[in-house]
Amino acid sequence: MTTSTLQKEEAAPVEEPVLRKPSTRKRLVPYWLLLPGIIWLLVFFALPLVYQASTSVQTGSLEAGFQVTWHFQTYWDAFQEYWPQFVRSLLYAGTATLLCLLLGYPLAYLIAFKAGRWRNLLLVLVIAPFFTSFLIRTLAWKTILADDSLVVDALNALHVLDVTSWIGWTEGDRVLATPMAVVCGLTYNFLPFMILPLYTSLERIDGRLHEAAQDLYASPATTFRKVTFPLSMPGVVSGTLLTFIPASGDYVNAELLGSTDTKMVGNVIQSQFLRVLDYPTAAALSFILMAIVLIMVTVYIRRAGTEDLV
């Protein structure tokens, strides 16, 4: 019986082969998987940005309520009033990022290539500070950098503070409540975010490449410059981004370790939003910050030539 049905099927001229389409249910699978998470991001990440955009062009008062009046003047006013804080934010965050790279690279290199059986222990030590709340750890810097503390005395004795106060990073023999304290705190807080990507990209480098480079007449310094460093670029790029972006919006370090003269733009946004309740100004400020950061990040990524991030 089956044979006869078969033959019937085959007897039909199969001139145009029937194309089988994958079933609709199968095609929809990725969309169902994406849906909940993407909705979450749209509603709680993208939509808030829209609301903030609208808030930034509103005028009014807390009592009378705010209306959208397309008052773009707010942006200009906010920028004019708070540009020192913007400059400071970028300067502090940039310095901290650079310091993180300078301090973090040797450690990442050490763990990746020289640590041997100590590798795991060192990695644990890099991650371990995370387990104590970063606010508590930042407060500890208040003790470390307090006037007449061991560290400050040592820096004083070595005349380091003479130099730093000459360029305006410290004041007299004080470190706390100066730009240096804030940068020191930022550097400290974001160091692991620099070290871990650096380590990941360094660890992937085949040790034989070093041998090959040295076999081909490269000195250790040249080997580093021409082989190791270029290959670790993905780590450098994501490390600097993971450091710079959060540092530029941070207000915790400036608040806890700095003074009124070291306020960053994060501090302004926070106080405008939570204390002054001037929502349009706060919204405009955070949009300006977002724009600056996104532009810098885009240019940086283009320059560094890596498309795969983090």
């Binding site: 089956t2 085959e10 199969v14």
Partner: protein, 392 residues
């Protein structure tokens, strides 16, 4: 096409694998052109071809891992085209094995049985471990096994389900040469023992010829030729098959006369005359037309030009000069340049070595005309020749 399917329809046995008009395209790229193929029950069938020829796609359509764009897959009389892989009585030995890294060997092998709700698997797993000689590795994890052992686990994991058909996707690709030869015999032994249909995908022509009863040579998403290994080797129908299976000397020639009985065709190439059996020509030959004359290197004898007189009459002759020779133990391989064609290959058994046969020597190549075959001259003469780029 309808003709062919009707034909295969008649010869259908109880458990043949039948593909009718099956094809696969990804967007505008066609991986497999509409294809009809019957794999007889209990046979060892090889799909042979270079990478990207569509052989793996064909295999995956049988397994159900790929939905065909057109056509039907039959297992015996049952249309399984729309069945998902887990409902088909077909199992696969994957390329690089795909053993579950988080399970030990026993769990890997028992996986299929457990999924079908069989509770007591111990006896069967033990038997399987016995069959593939891995009894002492039962509790090891896959990564603790060597390549050859992993390969055997992959076979056991598939075979324990007693599939109607076992599909093998380049199962020996990751092994080194010696182990590969060993595993070829091993797989052949297992196949004879269990009597299940094996469909084996490979790019290694030697592997296909050693193991399979039937070989389908694929190229560019189409089956070029189908047949028993010896038949494919002796009677290639296309230049691709002639070059891909072993080595062939292909000489462009012009037909002089087709002979009264058309049993013999006389052709001319590079000034010399050669005879080709008419029934070994794939295309119709006519006087003045072109034909590709082929002969396998091991069929050719080599004589120094000084001894040309002692060659028996009636043999095909080509004169030339030795360009290169390499000694490889059982034989010596010569490369000869001649007016008929450049770089002709000749394999001479090392029985009595003629010291005069050195590069630069003038020689005569001669062979029995019955060993000559004729191919359609409209094809690319170098199709299927392995180049350095291919190998890399």
């Amino acid at each position: 096409m309808t003709d062919k399917t009707a034909h295969t329809g008649k010869t259908t046995g109880g458990g043949d694998v039948r593909l009718t008009g099956i094809s696969k395209s990804y967007g505008s790229f066609t991986a497999v052109h509409p294809l009809d193929l019957t794999v007889p029950q209990g046979s060892f069938f090889a799909l042979l071809g270079a990478s990207g020829c569509g052989k793996t796609t064909t295999l995956r359509m049988i397994a159900g891992l790929e939905d065909p764009s057109t056509g039907t897959v039959f297992l015996g009389d049952k249309d399984v085209t729309d069945l998902p892989p887990y409902k088909r009585p077909v199992n696969t030995v994957f390329q690089s094995y795909a053993l579950f890294p988080h399970m030990d060997i026993t769990e890997n092998i028992a996986f299929g049985l457990r999924r079908r709700g069989i509770k007591s698997v111990k006896k069967q797993v033990d038997d399987m471990l016995e069959l593939v000689q891995l009894g002492d590795k039962a509790r090891h994890k896959p990564h603790q096994l060597s390549g050859g052992q992993q390969q055997r686990v992959a076979v056991a994991r598939a075979l324990i389900n007693h599939p109607q058909v076992l599909l093998l996707d380049e199962p020996l690709g990751a092994l080194d040469l010696k182990l590969r030869r060993q595993m070829q015999l091993e797989l052949k032994r297992i196949q004879t023992e269990v009597g299940i249909t094996f469909v084996h995908v490979t790019h290694d022509q030697e592997e296909a010829m050693t193991m399979a009863d039937q070989v389908a040579v694929m190229n560019g998403g189409r089956v070029e030729q189908l047949g028993a290994p010896a038949d494919l080797y002796e009677n290639p129908q296309t230049t691709f098959v002639a070059n891909f299976l072993g080595t062939s000397n292909l000489i462009e020639a012009e037909v002089l006369e087709t002979g009264p009985t058309s049993a013999d065709v006389l052709v001319t190439a590079g000034g010399g005359k050669l005879r080709v059996p008419g029934d070994r020509c794939t295309s119709a030959v006519r006087q003045g037309g072109k034909v590709l004359v082929g002969v396998r290197p091991e069929k050719i004898s080599l004589a120094h030009a000084d001894d040309a007189g002692s060659i028996a009459d009636g043999r095909n002759r080509v004169t030339g000069r030795i360009a290169d020779s390499s000694f490889i133990g059982v034989s010596t391989q010569y490369v000869v340049n001649s007016p008929a064609g450049a770089e002709l290959q000749v394999y001479e058994q090392n029985i009595e070595r003629d010291a005069r046969l050195r590069p630069g020597a003038e020689v005569v190549l001669h062979w029995n005309p019955a060993h000559t075959f004729g191919l359609d001259a409209a094809q690319d003469i170098d199709a299927g020749v392995e180049t350095v780029e291919d190998a890399g």
